[in-house]
Every structure is written in structure tokens, then in C-alpha cells.
């Protein structure tokens, strides 16, 4: 479980300062699908980065399973990310000249896992995602949908507790987008927490929890409540 308590994020200083998050207190429940929903510039990515320990808040605290992330050293945070989190980005961030296999194995390479072991794991995940015939291709030889599936494989290969996806469908056509959404749902069904950043109501609909964010102010609701509200 990840808990944000009274989190502020301010970019820059003085006149140019941007108050991207304002006194945000939200909880990411284990094994739940959480969507972060809001307009462009509302602070979605900022919030997700703080949840995923990519960034630290200006004020407030972040607890991950009782550990205070805001008090951890950079190296401890790196270790935390390497073990606990998996990221999926809108623009994939695959290393174009690495093979699919190496791209997927990257978190394990960083962890220092022996080659044989990590390649076995990567192949397993790629096979699960139907990419077994792309293993030795270079990342830049793939289509957008394939790329995003590879990056999802990379987010899963080290068996993290939580997968965070920032607009994963933003660069995909609707069919590929739907496939990726289904995959994320499956991942959640496997027991992992999933955090999805989106500005698309439709994508957020099936979430267990939805964090609405507007101008840095966040409000968290359960998905059921939202749906019944919409229906009622």
C-alpha cells in the first residue's frame, strides 16, 4: 500500500514557481487498479512520479508499505524502484538499438542478475504477451503497439508490486490502445497494483479507484461509487 500524506509539489522558485500538487492525500491500495484522471497540465504525471518514487515531494510524506520514501537515500530509492516498481511510458522509452530481449531484461541487468537467468525470465514474460517471435528484433523495428507491449513486458519482468503507466495508450490507435488497457487489467488481476494516468474517462471507467485531479488538487473515489453516480 502506498500512502501520500499532505503532499505538495512546487516546481521552480519565486514568481515562476508552479504549484503542481496541492496538499494531496491519496492511497494506492494493493492489488487494485487506480486511475489518475485529469486534464492536461493538472498534475497527473507529477502525482504518478511521486507514487512511483521517481520524484520526491516538496512537502508531505510518502509511505510505501509503511516505509517512509521521503527519508530514503537516492541509492535506497533506486533499489526500491528496481525491486518494487515497473513503469510504462507514453512514448515507450525503449532503447531503439537494443534487442527486444535486452530491453525487457534491463531491470534485471541493473539488478545484476546472471545472463541466463534474466533471459529466461524475459523470454517467459514476452511469451505471455505474445511477443515470442520478436525476441531478437531491435526495438526500433517494431510497431507502436508492439513497442508498448514490450515496454509492459519490461515493467513486469522483475515481478514488481506495482505497475505505473503514464498515458500508455496516448501514442496508439484505438485497437492497440484497447489491447494495452486489457493487458493492464490482466496485470491487476494477477494481483499487482496498477496505476494508470489518463485524461480519458473511458479508460478510467473500469478502475477500482479513481483519483480526480484538477489544478493540483486531488480527490479520490472508489470506482463503484463513480459508476453508480454516473448511472444514477
Amino acid at each position: 500500500m502506498i500512502e501520500l500524506k499532505n503532499v505538495d509539489k512546487i516546481y521552480g522558485k519565486g514568481d515562476g514557481a508552479v504549484h503542481a500538487l496541492k496538499n494531496v492525500s491519496v492511497t494506492i491500495e494493493d492489488g487494485k487498479f487506480t486511475a489518475i484522471l485529469g486534464k492536461s497540465g493538472s498534475g497527473k504525471s507529477t502525482l504518478m512520479n511521486i507514487i512511483g518514487a521517481l520524484d520526491s515531494p516538496t512537502n508531505g510524506t510518502v509511505y510505501a508499505n509503511g516505509q517512509n520514501l521521503t527519508e530514503m537515500s537516492p541509492n535506497a530509492l533506486a533499489e526500491y524502484r528496481n525491486k518494487t516498481t515497473g513503469f510504462v511510458f507514453q512514448s515507450f522509452y525503449l532503447e531503439p538499438t537494443f534487442s527486444v530481449l535486452d530491453n525487457v531484461a534491463m531491470p534485471l541487468i541493473i539488478a545484476g542478475m546472471p545472463r541466463k537467468e534474466r533471459e529466461e525470465k524475459a523470454i517467459k514474460v514476452l511469451t505471455q504477451l505474445g511477443l515470442e517471435d520478436k525476441i531478437n528484433k531491435k526495438a526500433n523495428e517494431l510497431s507502436g503497439g508492439q513497442k508498448q507491449r514490450v515496454s509492459i513486458a519490461r515493467a513486469l519482468v522483475h515481478n514488481p508490486d506495482i505497475v505505473l503507466a503514464d498515458e500508455p495508450t496516448g501514442n496508439l490507435d484505438s485497437q492497440n490502445g484497447a489491447e494495452v488497457m486489457a493487458l493492464l487489467r490482466d496485470i491487476c488481476n494477477m494481483g499487482k497494483s496498477v496505476v494508470l494516468v489518463t485524461h480519458n474517462m473511458e479508460d478510467a471507467k473500469n478502475a477500482d479507484n479513481i483519483i480526480f485531479i484538477e489544478d493540483g488538487v486531488a480527490e479520490m473515489k472508489s470506482g463503484n461509487a463513480v459508476n453508480s453516480e454516473a448511472n444514477g
Binding site: S40, L54, Y93, E95, I109, I110, R115, R154, E167
Partner: protein, 471 residues
């Protein structure tokens, strides 16, 4: 992260930033070629100079010599005790001595009792006749101390096979046996004066000592046997300057017979190494030790309270001078190299940092996936080492190409430096294996020192600022 993977990723980064990598490698290559050429020149100058010196030694051997000693402006002959020390030390080091000569001084003798100046002159008479006539006015029969060598040697061959024309040269059993050897040329001039000498004939030395105002004359005479006739040219070497040696006299006998008339003024020993393989280092160490031990038992020259050892081994002296000179040249070159390195390393460090910066995104991504600051540093360090190593290795190739040029320059330098010696200079220019390694290490050391700040910044950089999707 495994070292292998660090290497793989670093290589990947370099490969996909080819233009940056090539630029860095070229800068490293140019600078290290410059530095290594300088060092190569210095090292090979030193090595070749030492080699040439060794060649000269093999060809010409060495001399151990002590000139007439001067203590506080006073001519000070070597004492009997000092000579005993010299003799026993020479016996100990007989294996590195071919010949032993002493020069005796007789002209002025300061009588310590009367404070009178007493002068002694020697004359020589030949034949077995009982009525010998000593004539110091006759040039040919006066004994010229400067053209006479008093010999004492263990090796006896003087290193020259064809020295002796008749009879045999000094051997250990001749010590104290009143023997004399004459130069063939000298014997020939005697013939023109009606004296014919053969080996076994008698030669008589007489010392006439004159009192202060020529008021008295004391005569001491001793008989010697002509033990051999030698070729003076062979003894001195045909092209050498200096005195022509007309007489060799057994030192022990003469000093015993004329102990009141002569004193030791100069000592000279020679040694030529064997023409076969021999242990150079052992011989060199022995020569040095010999010189030191000789000096330990002989009071030094003194002038204005500065002291200078009496004995010098010419080869050891040359070699020490050579090594010192080479070391100075080498030091200057190394200093120059470090200067060049310092001036250039800033730009090298910069291009390295820039090329790393081009990989910010990839590094940021890896950080998002848990790469820590050390991991970033490892990758960047690996990248810079590889660029430096490649640059230096190419430079080594260039160095091999430059070698003939360095050889030509060195050859002309040595030719002018050593033209005096008739030694064939076999020049070699080698690239020592430690040169590129040292260059790589130095480069890397300086590059890391220079780029530490920027490297730390890259390592610390927020993951977000490099990769995030924040708008």
C-alpha cells in the same frame, strides 16, 4: 550491475554516438601521440646512451686512476699505509684488473728534519761490467720517471697478446725480484750508442741525492735483470697521446730498494672485459665497489675544505654521468608531457562528458528502473576508459610508424656525441610496454579529476528531468 553488462552498455553508448566517440578518440590520439613520442625519445635516448656506453666499455675497458694528490695546496704523495691498502684491495679485486702501474716521484724531496730541499735523480747503467758509469747528463741513460712505469699486476697479460717481443712480462712471482722490462725502441736507440742489450742482461739503477746547496751527494745503486722487451706502441695504444713508456720496473723491488728516494704519486690500473659473454651487472657493481673501497683507505684531495676522492673508475664515472644526464632529459620530457596532458585533458574530459550527456535519456531510463548513482558512474567511467584506451592504442600504432624518424634523430645525435670513439653504434628504438599503459592511466586519472564535477551532476540528476512525461 555486472561488470560485463556495464561494459556492454558503455560500448553500446559509444557505438550509437559515433561522431562524439570518434572526436574524443581523435583528440586522445593526437595528444597521446605527442606525449608518447616525447617519452619514447627520452626513454630511447637514455637506453641507447647506456648501450653505447656499454659498447665503449666492451671495446676500450676502463681505467682506475688516482692522480697526484693535493692537500691544501701541498703535493701529498700516497703513504706506505695507503699503498698497502691499495695493494690489498687490488688483490681482492684482481678479477677486474688487467694491469697495475704506479708512478713514483723523486725530484723534490722535502727532508722533514732539516727542512732542506733534497733532490734526487736516477740514472741507469747497462751491462755486467763492474765499472759502471752513471751519467745523468746523457739523455739515454738517465732514468726519466715520467716514461717509466712501475708494474704490479695479477693478470700479467696487460690485455695485449703481442705486447712482449722477447722474454716474458711480469708475473706474481716476479714481485720483489728486481726485474726490468725495456721498450724495443729504447733498446734500438741504445744500440746507436754502442750498447747492445739482451734478455737476462744486467741493468743498474742509481739514485743520486743532492743536498740542499749541492753540497753533498749520496748514491744508492741496485742491480736489476732485463726480463723482457716490449712493444711500447702496443702498451699505450697506437692512437693514444701521452708518454711513450720506455721502461717497466717491478714496483715492489724498486720501492724497497729506493725507499728513501721515491714516493708514490700516481696509480693507474686498467681492465678490459672478456670478449666472451660475461655478467655485465656483476662486473659493474664490482668496479663501483672497488672504487669505493680504494677511496675508503686513501685520504681525499682537499682544497678550501672541499674534499674530492682520489680514485676514479673512468667507466663508472662515465656511466653515472650518462645516467644523470639521461635522467635530467627524461625528467624534462616527462614534465613537458604532463604539461601537455594538463593543457589538453580539459577538452578531452569535456568531449567525454558531452558524449555521456547525449545518453542522458538512456541513463535516465535506467535510473527509473533502479540504476543507482554508482551504476551511472561505472558506465560513464567505462565509456571514458574505452575512448582513452582506443585513442592511446591507435597512438601506439602511430608511434611504431614514427620510430624510424626517432631512430634517425637519435643516430645523428649519438654520432656527434660519440664521434671520438671508434665504436659502432647499434641504435635501437623500442616502444616499452609500460608507456601506453602509463599514458592510459595518466589520461584517465586526469580526465576523471577534471570531469568529477560534471560526472557527479549526471549521476545525481533527477530521473524526472531526463525522462519523465511531465509537460
Amino acid at each position: 550491475m555486472k561488470l560485463r553488462d556495464v561494459f556492454k552498455i558503455a560500448l553500446h553508448n559509444l557505438w550509437y554516438n559515433k561522431s562524439r566517440t570518434i572526436l574524443t578518440v581523435i583528440i586522445v590520439m593526437v595528444v597521446s601521440t605527442l606525449i608518447m613520442t616525447l617519452c619514447l625519445f627520452g626513454i630511447n635516448f637514455m637506453q641507447n646512451q647506456i648501450d653505447v656506453n656499454k659498447d665503449i666499455f666492451n671495446e676500450q675497458g676502463t681505467r682506475y686512476y688516482a692522480y697526484s694528490r693535493n692537500i691544501d695546496n701541498q703535493q701529498s704523495p700516497y703513504t706506505e699505509e695507503e699503498m698497502q691498502h691499495v695493494f690489498s684491495t687490488a688483490d681482492e679485486y684482481a678479477h677486474i684488473i688487467d694491469s697495475f702501474e704506479a708512478r713514483l716521484e723523486s725530484y723534490y724531496y722535502n727532508d722533514p728534519n732539516t727542512n732542506d730541499y733534497v733532490s734526487t735523480s736516477f740514472s741507469v747503467a747497462f751491462g755486467t761490467d763492474a765499472d759502471k758509469v752513471y751519467t745523468s747528463s746523457n739523455y739515454n741513460t738517465s732514468m726519466n720517471m715520467w716514461s717509466t712505469r712501475f708494474i704490479r699486476t695479477q693478470m700479467c697479460d696487460y690485455g695485449k697478446e703481442n705486447l712482449i717481443l722477447q722474454g716474458s712480462i711480469w708475473s706474481a712471482t716476479d714481485a720483489g725480484q728486481n726485474k726490468v722490462w725495456l721498450a724495443e725502441d729504447y733498446i734500438k736507440t741504445l744500440v746507436t750508442q754502442g750498447v747492445t742489450l739482451n734478455v737476462g742482461d744486467n741493468v743498474t739503477f742509481m739514485a743520486s741525492t743532492w743536498g740542499n746547496k749541492m753540497d753533498s751527494e749520496t748514491r744508492v745503486a741496485h742491480d736489476y735483470v732485463l726480463a723482457g722487451i716490449f712493444d711500447a706502441k702496443v702498451l699505450r695504444g697506437e692512437e693514444q697521446y701521452g708518454d711513450t713508456i720506455t721502461m717497466l720496473v717491478d714496483l715492489d723491488s724498486f720501492v724497497r730498494d729506493f725507499s728513501d728516494q721515491v714516493s708514490y704519486s700516481e696509480i693507474q690500473m686498467t681492465y678490459a672485459p672478456p670478449q666472451t659473454e660475461y655478467n655485465y651487472n656483476a662486473v659493474y657493481d664490482d668496479m663501483k665497489a672497488f672504487e669505493e673501497k680504494l677511496n675508503a683507505g686513501v685520504a681525499p684531495n682537499r682544497y678550501d675544505s672541499t674534499e674530492r676522492d682520489c680514485f676514479t673508475c673512468s667507466y663508472v664515472e662515465d656511466m653515472q654521468m650518462t645516467v644523470l644526464m639521461s635522467a635530467i632529459i627524461l625528467a624534462v620530457i616527462v614534465l613537458l608531457s604532463v604539461l601537455i596532458l594538463l593543457l589538453s585533458v580539459g577538452s578531452v574530459a569535456n568531449t567525454i562528458i558531452i558524449s555521456v550527456d547525449k545518453n542522458r535519456k538512456f541513463i535516465g531510463l535506467m535510473k527509473a528502473m533502479g540504476l543507482n548513482q554508482n551504476g551511472v558512474k561505472k558506465i560513464v567511467t567505462c565509456e571514458s576508459i574505452m575512448q582513452i584506451a582506443i585513442g592511446v592504442l591507435i597512438a601506439v600504432g602511430a608511434l611504431f610508424a614514427i620510430r624510424p624518424l626517432i631512430a634517425t634523430i637519435l643516430a645523428s645525435m649519438f654520432e656527434s656525441m660519440f664521434s671520438y670513439f671508434a665504436v659502432e653504434i647499434a641504435l635501437s628504438v623500442t616502444v616499452p610496454f609500460y608507456l601506453p599503459i602509463a599514458t592510459i592511466l595518466l589520461f584517465f586519472l586526469f580526465a576523471t579529476l577534471f570531469s568529477r564535477g560534471s560526472l557527479g551532476k549526471i549521476a545525481k540528476q533527477d530521473v524526472i528531468s531526463t525522462i519523465s512525461e511531465v509537460s
